[in-house]
Amino acid sequence: MREQLGLLKEKAEKELSQCKRLDDLNAFRVKYMGKKGELTKILRGMGKLPAAERPVMGQLANKIRDSLENKIADLTEKLKKKEMEQSLLAESIDITLPGIGPELGRQHPLSLVIEEIEEIFLGMGFMIEEGPEIELDYYNFEALNIPKDHPAREMQDSFYLSPEVLLRTHTSPVQARTMEKMRPHLPVKIIVPGKVYRRDDDATHSPMFHQVEGLLIDQVVRFSDLKGVLLNFAQQMFGADQKIRLRPSFFPFTEPSAEVDISCVMCKGTGCRTCGQTGWLEVLGAGMVHPRVLEMGGYNPEEVSGFAFGMGVERIAMLKYGIDDLRLLFENDVRFLRQF
């Protein structure tokens, strides 16, 4: 019996080592361990043995069976892995075929820039105010210290809809409207994005364009605060290394007034064609709110002070994205729009 088992083990192990596929393994299992399998037969024949031999032989036979089972399991694992690898090889794809993701839409560059400016000023605590584009002469000019016949009206040739109503020439009338609405509440801290209109149409002027206005009125607001807020804005908008430069200027609704330059975004201040070799780019007008404007808005200039600023969105978009032709912004050519 022992001899028989030994031979069987030897034979089975040899056969097992020759199994190359899962099917072979199954056949092997049936042959030795199935209901009529060779090992099963021996185990069944155990009853015929003398009682004293039975435990020893039983133990031996079980040991052989366990060992075979383990080997089958190991081999099954190995073969499965191998077969899967082979079948995956047959599933190869051409990874260089184009992707089929959804199409991307784009925001218009001007709306992108306005949104970015809004985010920066929201972060500094400025609310967004809006006002009508079709505006009364009073708010567009008079409430901003630009009476009839003021030479400054010439700087802004307007589209008139009636003698007293025009398309606003700047977003500044919303300053006056907001003051009227909020007085005597402090602070008034707003920015005003929006469309504005002037009778100009050439390579560098569009009859419709966009501005963002800013206004802060509080108990004490200083010129130095204006510098701080604008520097903060310039650095967030154009990069942390941005510098600003303020030059005296004139606006009827601010005094002192300033033109604000930022260091050239193209050459970083060393001088190039974009900045006319100066290293500076004019992007903003600003100043301390004129006492007359505060008065007309219902605030006492002896008790409050404020600053205001305004910027052209087109100019900033052109600098930010390196757009050299203003007209591209209003032609809505898909080849242009897809670049943002």
């Binding site: 089929i100 784009r106 972060g123 006492p291």
Partner: protein, 814 residues
Amino acid sequence: MLVSWKWLNELVEIKKTPQEIANLLTMSGIEVEGITFGLADSANLKVGLLKEITKHPQADKLVICRVEIGIAEERTIVTGASNVKAGQKVPVALPGAVLVDGKQIERAVLRGVKSEGMLCSAVELGMDVEKIPAEQKKGIYILSDTVSVGDNVVEVLNLDDVILELELTPNRADCLGMLNIAREVAALTGGKLKLPLVKGSEEGHECAQMAQVDIEAKDLCKRYVARLIKDIRIAPSPLWLQQRLMAVGVRPINNVVDVTNYVMMEMGQPLHAFDYARLQGKKIVVRKARENEELVTLDAQLRKLYPDMLIIADAEKPVAIAGVMGGLETEVTTKTKTILLEAAFFHGASVRRTSRTLGLRSEASLRFEKGVDVEQVRLAADRAVQLLAEIGAGTPVEGCVDSYPGREERQPIKLRIEKVNQVLGTALTPETMEEKLKALHIKVVEKNKAGWLFLPPSYRRDLVYEVDLIEEIARLYDYDKIRTTLPEGVTTQAIRTAEQKLRQQIRKTMVAQGLLEVLNYSFINPQQLDFLGIPEEHALRDVVTIQNPLSEEQGVMRTTLLPGLLSTVQRNVNNRNKNLKFFELGQVYFAHGFPAKQKLPMEKWMLAAVSTGEKEKTWAYEAKKYDFYYLKGVLENLVERLGVTANDLCWEVVTDLPGFHPSRTALIKLKGKKIGILGEIHPWVLEKYEIEQRVSMLNIDVEKLGAEEREQKVFVAPLTKYPAVTRDLAIVVSEEVVAGAVAKLIKKEGGDWLSEVRLFDLYRGQQIQEGYKSLAFSLTWQAPHKTLTDEEVNNLHQKIEKALQKEFSADLRH
């Protein structure tokens, strides 16, 4: 305003370069826009005398000149110019000279004749042809007889001057005169002023006996000064005077005109000279024009005068339009013996209106418009008289007539020391402030605790308020030196309002779905409404009209975004981009009774989207049309994103919407309220826009969409852990039965647990009778609290089937 560097140096001591002065001016608020440097080379550009001119033996168009360029020094020069004559003095560029275009002159042989240099034209010398006499514009520039042979042409013609171009802000009209620019430079550099000495005239004397001034329109003329000069000899001005004028952009004409222009450029005060003999009654009347008066102006045009125009008249009739243009009849000519010189202050707005009405704008009218210095009107007249005498143009008549009804005492301005530092955020001392103001000739008149009183010079009419003085201090102190701080007030929270958030969300959602945002002008050509077939009385015809449009293309404010989007499609299709999907979020404008009602027109936010063409077939999927259903899906996604379920949208057939396809257009309602339309553009409209492919358009009232969104609160539905059961349902119905109605009935009959009804197939053709279609739905049931049994689902399914059979005579397919 052009500034001659040489002239400026005569008025103020300067130790800096033109570039340095330009920077200083720019940083103090007087922007220098450009600097033009003249010719640098000088040694080889000489005054030559044409001794003899002979024909070139080999060339018809060339001549050979023998030119004297110094004592016993002659050169032979070949030229092609036809305006040269022997005896003339001309600019000669000798070998080695570099002209304005960078060209270096060399010896040459022209058709066999040696040429030792070149005779120069104005352009070659870098002169601005706009500023030189007409006859000098072409050919060789002919020099004045008074220059000496061999002299340096650069010096003679002032070609090496540097010109600064100033861009002045409207408040600094005072800098329209060289003297005040010199004063500004002196304030910035500390340089010494060297102002011309002018001998002032006294009122009365002979002048007052010879002429009378009567200001009737005292509201439009604050001051009028008349002076007389007799023994007038009209001649060209001396070269230095001509050069000054040319340098600052004024064309020399004759000594009298040149002097008036010179004083205008120097002091900012325009002057006008009348032929005294032609003034009837020897009288100047400053008044408004009368009905039906006319005047032939200097340009020989007969001008109709309107009663609101300020004019200068003699005893009988108009002789000049005040500040704008003189009359032809009283023009100074070579026959003039005596002139009456006018220096006046005319009201700026009046001059502006008149010059605009007549389309006549000049250096003079510009200065009146911006405001001249009323205190120096007489000094300007005296300066001109003195100059005329100096250059020998005439003999001054003693005295003057000075009518000054508009005299005003200028009030000092109070300045509080602490206010200066409070406004600027600085810590300047009172001494610094006073020093800065003093440099600008703003004098202290009183110092007390409440504040110091300052009196600005008469030419600084822009200084009125305390803040004006504060700006002057800051300007001279240098804005750059002011520190940078952040506002110290209460920090406020800032967020977008609900409307602003809504618009942002709409924009983001449209972009996320693959549409490109566009921006069109707010004005349209009213003809575009005709293109859309909008009937006369339609609401979209309630336009606001622009009174002074740039063109008819931009004649009215848009009442719809459609024309802009259609034009956008047209342009892109023309560029061969045929697969397009755009949206625009913008305002439209309705008159709403404007201008009759005293109310502003209505402005309203709209969202419009347009799609055409297709998402092109690729290796992986079939082409997908950008059609009605594309935009419908876009809108459904949008409203879902805004917190409304697409099921709340209701689509109604509309057959008569102007501009839209009669059987492919829907009225969109959200919970019963009309929010917009979606449809294909009518082929007739597309024909007008020359678009040869179908275009679909969505048009939504943002406010109405928003009102719904704000009412809506988004609650997250709990996720059920019980399994979903899916059943397919296929039916054949007649073509008249619309899919939406079938889906609606399915939902109604399917019970609360029917969570999704998805149409996955629509089929017409083989095996389906003509006039019928097959619809296949996938229905999903899912209960939140239990596993649904097959029996439950089967019952519901049967209930649906029965209802469909009954309602739509649906033929069930299993």
